[in-house]
Symmetry: D3
Subunit: 136 residues, 6 copies
């Protein structure tokens, strides 16, 4: 299996609901350094997994929707806990939509799986890893 | 698959038995920077993989039993080579016992697998990756 | 010159006032990974720059006052822009007070200077570096 | 599953053919920081995955063939795009030959799989991950 | 003293002239991960050292002139050895020109000094550190 | 001022004497990832600060004397606390002797200062920074 990974980051505010979060129930924030790994079993005719320029642009676009925002005010997140795990999945789903929408080029259709990792500090991170290919 | 990772470290002395270890057969030591990745297919009702505070505490507890020790003097390791690989497995097994003992909370029962990585320098590391769920 | 450095982190929300900040004028947040370097020209009789345990505790205490907070709501910051640079200085000043208050032990009186660095992402950081010794 | 990872690096010049590469079609270069992860389900009688000294030497040997070279002038690469993905596979294949040739010792026959990752900058990397065992 | 640092990277080919360089006399290449630290004794009225957006853009502009190039073909470098040290100075000088040309905004006139570091691998880097203020 | 930095590592056992060290009074160990920064105001005729190959070899030689040792058994350290700070100074002094003995080549006589940093974990390090030039 081949893979290519790109890195970017996003800075957000939010609060988390539930006793398990302790002081993180207060409004606070985070920088997430985001790594996305794209995987496929074979390279395309150019010798690549994915157009890394388009992949970086797609990631930047997905993160731009979140960047410099208070996630507590984002309508679609209102009923949700925007944990690092949840946000990893959110970035995954939006990148998946970008791939299916053609934003990463036609070759991206051959991607098999993808992993999104959000590093919230030097000692903690969360990720979501899942398939990219449409179920046939 | 979702995952959450936490990091801590431990400083130990030991020696290794066997020609393959060359000068590491002498009593020396290491700092191990330890990453533990916890995985499960779905998030709990709080939107998390595991209570990261409890997970960090459990890791700290497991490492505290080893920290600032000469592993050559630890009775249960006397007949063993405390290689980085072996210690990754030791940390894994002890965390597994902590999970099964309830130290990471009831939700930790949904964890599917775990990976423990020990970085022994900027150029070398070892890990053990295995299932968490009890065989049914 | 000798130095010792310790690392911790803090997660906050805030907004910044001024056109120069663009979208960072909105309420957002950051993880700051904080490095503090303590310097002195000679080691003490134990062979150290500072009691690293006490230094780490002092840093944790200073960061705890900021951690999981919306800095826009902190009274002493209301009229200020809590930029990374400003926060580096804030941490510096509070650590200086801790040193002078004896929290790092009597030996900390021999510290000559200190540098506080806040990493706000994998590509940006800010620091404040200044003297520790009281002017005589 | 156990694993051991080692790190080294290589510095090369090359150009890439195809519009997708934009300015990287010009002759330029890269430092690749190379991580190799060796995996096997059980440890050998010394308690290790592989002789890390031999593994590091084998990696160094493989990289030495590429180091300080213009890959555009290497006969076996002439018709190929030496993308980071392709080079990860090249390092993989050559390490596999070294393993099968006995360079990592007889115990290396128990290796199950291997992952080669080339970091081309602080924000991008590529890898190839595949089986080591001969098909029986 | 306050400082702000930004990071970017550049990928180039070159060769080095002189026996001291051994195999690096051959045409090869490098990724340089570039850190620039800007310093001044006091913050401006916005609470910053420099407009980090403009500083990042200026660095990107300077690196764009070098990126994806064979430095052996760049006329102004023909008679020079483009060592990591030399390139750190080159980036420094060009950023200094950008500062004096107003590209970092009028506030950049208060910068006192600057440090440019080029990381050529995980084990080696070079830097140039010098004053920014015009001699009066 | 120009500088060049190289990185290597060393793995040792030791114990520390004094209540301030708490559990580190027990025999334990550490991996030190060692960075050495060499500085001089001008480059030599090859365009370098120091022959990086020779500098790396000198550092490796100095670390080899300590590597895989129990420092409690090293005669010259018997009456000393081998703290990270003390070891940073030890590496500094031995590199200084190597420089003065000609091991880094004749050009190393132009070095002005040097900084040795020992990273003992992902959250702590110590360094010694001092002049290289002989007092005239």
């Amino acid at each position: 299996m081949y893979s290519v990974s790109v890195r970017d980051h996003v800075m957000i505010a939010h609060s988390l609901k539930g006793d398990v979060f302790g002081p993180a129930q207060r409004l606070h924030g985070a920088t997430y350094v985001v790594d996305v790994e794209f995987r496929r079993p074979d390279l395309d005719s150019d010798g690549i997994v994915v157009d890394i320029g388009r992949a970086s642009d797609a990631l930047r676009g997905v993160l731009a929707e979140l960047n410099y925002r208070n996630l507590d005010d984002v309508p679609e997140f209102v009923a949700r806990n925007t944990t690092t795990e949840f946000l990893a999945r959110t970035v995954f789903d939006r990148l998946l939509a970008a791939i299916r929408g053609g934003d990463l080029g036609p070759g991206a259709g051959a991607l098999e799986s993808m992993r999104v990792t959000l590093h919230e500090s030097h000692i903690a991170s969360a990720s979501f890893d899942g398939p990219v290919r449409k179920p046939s």
